[in-house]
Structure formats: structure tokens, C-alpha cells
Amino acid sequence: MSERGTRRQARRGRRTWLRCAALLAPAALVAAARAGGPLEAPAGDRALVEILSGIDYVPSRGTIDDVLGEAAPEDLIDIARGVEGGEDPGLRVRAYRALALYPSEETRAALRAAIAEHGAVAGGVDTLYLRAALGSLARVDGEAAVPDLGPLLGHPSRDVRAEAALALGETGAEAAVPILRARLPLESVAQVRLAIAEALRALEAD
């Protein structure tokens, strides 16, 4: 089989894994929660699950490419979105995070869609999807992400506001400065105020 054919087959295999995970993961999670025992990994590609589930390990692009190959961005988007309601939330969060390593139109669109989908939710795991997505968008879209990130400085969750402030700092965009400055006097939570101040410092140092 040609190299191209091998890759195509590998990719088909991973797609199958994603579908299987969709069906199997909820059952595994429920069983683990009931038993109070260790968390069972979702069924499927062990290497993929491992690199997206590190306690304090953040994989590099090279590591992700080794596992997912050229289909990495597409597969990560699928995992981040969740497939057919069978998503593992921990993997989803880290998939959104990993998309920062794959700048492309497809990635940008997926991250903007995530911000739109989760942007109105004030609590729960949606705030983590949101924070991961907005952080990644800042990295892959730079200045162009400012209009998406700016409004999140008014989000009801202080953690989202703080993440948005830091993400605006990461864009390196001058356009972010007046937005952050305007928000500073309105912000009452020290955590967010300090994040805004740090972002401004980063932007003004550039």
C-alpha cells in the first residue's frame, strides 16, 4: 500500500475511534463515577487519549503530529466539538487548547464557533471550553481575534474575563489596548484587574 493509502487508512481508523468513543465514553464515565474508582480512559486510540489527558503535561505540535498525522487539526476539531454527544469533557478542553498549534481558516472558524456556542454560559465545564477556545484563537488569529475577545471582558464569569484579558495581551494587537483600558475602571474583581494590568504591560512592552 502506498504511503498515502496508509495514511488514509490510519485516518479512517481514527474516525472509527471517534465514533466508538462517542458510544463508549459515556458508559465508561458513568461506571467509573458509580464505582468511585479510577477514571477509565475512553475506548479507542490509546496514544491519542494519553496526549490529551496529561495531568500537567501539555503536548507539543510534534507530539500531536506523531499521533494524528496530517489530519491532526481536523481530528482535534472533531474531538473539541464532541462527536454525537459522546464527548469526554477533559479531552475536549485539551483539544481546544491544542488547536492553538494549528493556525488555519478551519481552526479559526471552529474556535469562533466555540466562543459563540459557549460564550453565554456562566458556569460549568462550558466556561473551560470557552477559556480554552479564546486562548487558542488569540494565538492563531492575533489582531484579528480582538473583536471576538473584547466582548468577553464583560462575561459573567470572572475566570473567563481574566482569560480574555490575558488572551488580548497575547494577540499583541494595539487595538486591544483601548479595550482593556476601558474595562479596567469597571472591573471590581482583583483577579481580573490584575490580568488586565498584565495584558496591558505585555502590549505596551511590544
Binding site: V49, E50, S53, G54, V125, L128
Partner: protein, 501 residues
């Protein structure tokens, strides 16, 4: 040398024992001229009947307990001695290096007792101690058997650091606890000799520099038999090849010996190069501050000190009992207490138990409520408890998806207030995982802070502990989808952490 007041002890014991004494002989506290004047079970000491001795230490300086009777030791200055009680009143058995070339332990000579600290007190030099011997940071005195030592002490083999050798002598050391030795270092790079006594279970070398821009730590470790255990790795492969897995760190690092049961802790002097290092290579400019911690017992109680950042309005506060989690509520929170119990259960197979648990709020640090790796040191420097491990419960850890951060592998035992003194655990994991899973994540981080490495690292590298497998069932598996099992070797290393009590 043992300061002792025979009369006061005799009178005190007499008051306690008199009601039980009957018969024709003299009772405790009554005058006597010989042992025959006293009732059975008593001796005549200093002209008074006193209870028969069992330990030399009961008899005081210059006396030894000989079949229940305190006998005055007579010796001249310069007489050979092998233990403190070979020398008479006002004298010490001073090590003089005699016998350094022989197979047996070093001997000494009786010398006039100088002023100084008593046995067991912390010292920096021989001259600090009345016994004239400071070893592993403690004044010690010579012995032949544990019966020669005070209660709570044991007679151990201790290397004596001489310029070109490290012969062994027998000295009294605490039976329990951790001995702390602050080592004087005068230059950015130095070679230390670390004397390891026979009763040590492990030792940790904590090296610090004031600068966080420079690295610090051991760059070479050789055991008493001359085996190279560690050489500062130039590559990742070198790091994994070292028998002793370790790396210097920015500002602080801790070397734990042994951190694998495949290395025996030997009695003798370890030779350890310590240096500050520039990130670009070469020796730094900062002078390391070095402290040695010797674990002298099998204590296995791990204190946990929880520090709560501001978790108000947390997005997953629904997982907190009453929607609140802080120092006041944690002690009464069933979920939090179950979490602590679960950590305890995960460490139990290693023979460890969670000991004292404390709670503290850290307010007014909005910059640390959600922690990023680059600010971890600032957070951990807020720790203030000397024992166990400090656990900082933060709102979240960045980047999103990171669940815990570890100060060091291992972190510095009994050294609060440093950039490596503890672990951080993100409460946002509770947005998608149970408290039990958070307990496994916390236990994993605690075990790393106590000296264990991944059983299988993300890059596939395996543990130095030969009996730990590479399975996901292991507590040290790097993924959150991991189990709680520990190999016997891993358990052994955990029990050697000097932060236990």
C-alpha cells in the same frame, strides 16, 4: 559527659518509692555507706540509697551503670576510650583519629570536658559540642552500644570526615526524626562530602540560591564505594541514564538519595559537587545555600496543609458543599473530607497515613487565584508549614486542562516558603471530574513532590525503579486516566521522604 544531680534525683525518687519499701535496710533517700545498707533493689550512691540503675545515663557524668550500681569511672587525661562512659567526671571521650587506618571504629582519648552544647543539640562544628563531636548537624558522643546512649538515642556508625578519609566511629544519634545540617558553602561551585550514618533511611540535599535566574543543585554524585550515581546531564538521554534521576533547578532543587531501591544507601561519605549554574552553561555567580536532611526513622505520617485561594463565584461551585470552599468550610465539608480520605486511601498501600491536616486561606492574591506555571514559585513561597506537603487549591491552572502543578521532584522537605515548597491543584477540574478523580490527581502530585517520577513519561521513558511497570494502572501514570497502584519499589521511595514524621 552528662550533667546530673545525684542528690536531687535520689530525693525525688525516694519520695515516689518510699511507701512501697519495707524491711530493715535503708530506704530511698536515707543515708548509707555501702550498697548493703540499702534495701533490695537500691544502691548506695553519693551517701544516699537510690534505686538501682538500668542505664548509664541515670548515673550521670563520670559514672557507669554496672549491674544496677552506678560506678565511678576513673580515668586520666589521655587514656584510650571507645565510649563516653570510659571517661571519668569532667572528661569526654574525644575522637582523635586513632584507628583511622584500621578496620574497626575509631577510638578516642579521655580529655577535659570543654564548654558547649550537649548531645543531641544542633551544631555546626565540633567545637560547638561538649563532646567535641558534631556529626550530621548534631552533637554526638561516642558509644559502643545503644545502652551507652541516652533514652531516645541509638548507637550508630557515623563517618568521620577527615581530610583524606572518612573512617567510621560509633556515636549516639536520635532514634527518630530528621537531622538537619546546614552546610557552609563559600563559592559558587564546591565539592561536599556528605556523611551518611548507619541509621539513616535517606538524605535530601536542598540547594538554593537567591537568584531565580540561575540554576542550582548537584552536578555530580559519587557514593562511598566510588560509584558515579549522577552526572549533570547534557541531554535527555543522559538524564534518563543516570542511576539517580535528578536535575538542578532554577533557584532551588532537591536531591533525594536514594530515590530508587536499586541504589543502596551506604554508610560513608558521599562526594557531591554542588554549584550554581547559568542557563547558558557554565558556573553561576550565586553561592549556593545547602541544607542536608537525614531521615533517621521509619515514620510514615504525611501532614497535608491546604491553602485556599479565593474560590468565590467559582464556575463549578456546585461541586462544593454549600457552594463554598475555604479554610473554614473545608474541615466541615463532607465532600472535601471524603477527598482527603481518598488521598489517604491511595497512599495507604505505601504504608503512609495522612497525619495532621491544616487549612488556611490566602486572600488578597488575585494574581495567584488562577495560577500559571511561571508564577507557581510565587504561590508556593506562601507556604509556612515545615512538615508534610503544602497543597494550594487554586481556581484554575493555566493553560486550561492542566490539573495540578508540582514544586519539585522531590520538593524540599521541611523547607516552607520556597518556590518549590508544595503543589497546586486546580478546582476547575471539578467542572468535569469527580472529587475522587481529583483525589487521584492530588495523590499523584503529592507522590511526585515526595520523589517519585512517572512510571512512564509522556515521551515513553520509563521509571528508574525497576519493579514499577509502565501501565496506566499506576498512580504515577502521567495521564488523568490512571490508576492508583504502586510497586513495592515506589512504596519504598515514598516512605523515605524526609518530610514525613
Amino acid at each position: 559527659m552528662r550533667p546530673f544531680n545525684h542528690i536531687a534525683v535520689a530525693v525525688a525518687l525516694g519520695a515516689a518509692l518510699s511507701p512501697g519499701c519495707t524491711g530493715g535496710g535503708a530506704a530511698v533517700g536515707e543515708e548509707c555507706t555501702a550498697a548493703g545498707d540499702c534495701m533490695d533493689g537500691l544502691q548506695c550512691l553519693g551517701g544516699l540509697c537510690t534505686p538501682a540503675c538500668e542505664l548509664h545515663v541515670e548515673c550521670g557524668d563520670g559514672y557507669r551503670c554496672d549491674q544496677g550500681t552506678c560506678a565511678l569511672v576513673t580515668s586520666e587525661i589521655g587514656d584510650r576510650c571507645e565510649r563516653e562512659i570510659d571517661c571519668g567526671p569532667g572528661q569526654i571521650c574525644a575522637l582523635d583519629g586513632a584507628g583511622a587506618g584500621g578496620d574497626g571504629p575509631l577510638a578516642g582519648t579521655c580529655q577535659a570536658q570543654p564548654p558547649g552544647l550537649v548531645t543531641g543539640q544542633a551544631c555546626e562544628a565540633d567545637s560547638d559540642c561538649r563532646s567535641g563531636v558534631c556529626a550530621i548537624g548534631l552533637c554526638t558522643e561516642m558509644c559502643q552500644a545503644t545502652a551507652d546512649c541516652a533514652p531516645g538515642q541509638t548507637c550508630a556508625l557515623i563517618p568521620r570526615l577527615l581530610p583524606d578519609a572518612a573512617p567510621i566511629f560509633s556515636g549516639c544519634l536520635p532514634r527518630q526524626g530528621v537531622a538537619v545540617d546546614h552546610v557552609a558553602v563559600a563559592s559558587p561551585r564546591t565539592t561536599l562530602r556528605v556523611p551518611v550514618p548507619s541509621t539513616a533511611r535517606s538524605f535530601a540535599l536542598v540547594a538554593r540560591v537567591d537568584s531565580t535566574d540561575q540554576m542550582v543543585g548537584a552536578t555530580r554524585v559519587v557514593d562511598p564505594a566510588g560509584r558515579l550515581l549522577f552526572a549533570n546531564p547534557a541531554t535527555t538521554d543522559d538524564f534518563y541514564r543516570n542511576p539517580l534521576r535528578y536535575a538542578p533547578g532554577f533557584g532551588i532543587s532537591t536531591l533525594l538519595v536514594p530515590n530508587t531501591p536499586d541504589i543502596d544507601l551506604q554508610v560513608g561519605a558521599y562526594e557531591i559537587d554542588v554549584a550554581s549554574l547559568l542557563p547558558v552553561g557554565g558556573t553561576g555567580t550565586a553561592v549556593p545555600e545547602v541544607t542536608l536532611f537525614y531521615k533517621l526513622d521509619t515514620a510514615a505520617s504525611l501532614d497535608l496543609h491546604f491553602h485556599f485561594l479565593d474560590l468565590t463565584d467559582h464556575p463549578c461551585a456546585a461541586q462544593f458543599d454549600g457552594g463554598r470552599l475555604d479554610a473554614t468550610s473545608a474541615g466541615m465539608s463532607p465532600r472535601f473530607q471524603q477527598y482527603v480520605s481518598a488521598i489517604d486511601a491511595m497512599l495507604a498501600p505505601a504504608g503512609l497515613t495522612v497525619g495532621e491536616v491544616t487549612y488556611r486561606d490566602i486572600g488578597g492574591r488575585g494574581d495567584l487565584d488562577a495560577i500559571r506555571r511561571e508564577h507557581l514559585g510565587e504561590l508556593l513561597a506562601l507556604s509556612d508549614q515545615p512538615t508534610g506537603v503544602s497543597v494550594f487549591v487554586v481556581r484554575s491552572v493555566s493553560p486550561v486542562g492542566v490539573q495540578a502543578l508540582v514544586g519539585g521532584t522531590p520538593g524540599p522537605p521541611r523547607t516552607p516558603g520556597t518556590a518549590a515548597s508544595g503543589i497546586a491543584v486546580g478546582a476547575d477540574t471539578l467542572c468535569y471530574r469527580s472529587w475522587d478523580i481529583l483525589a487521584r490527581i492530588t495523590a499523584h502530585a503529592l507522590a511526585r513532590q515526595m520523589g517519585l517520577y512517572f512510571n512512564r513519561a509522556p515521551d515513553g521513558a520509563l521509571d528508574t525503579i525497576s519493579d514499577s511497570d509502565d501501565s496506566a494502572d499506576n498512580l504515577m501514570f502521567f495521564s488523568e486516566f490512571g490508576g492508583t497502584s504502586l510497586s513495592e519499589g515506589q512504596r519504598d521511595v515514598l516512605r523515605r521522604y524526609p518530610g514525613l514524621r
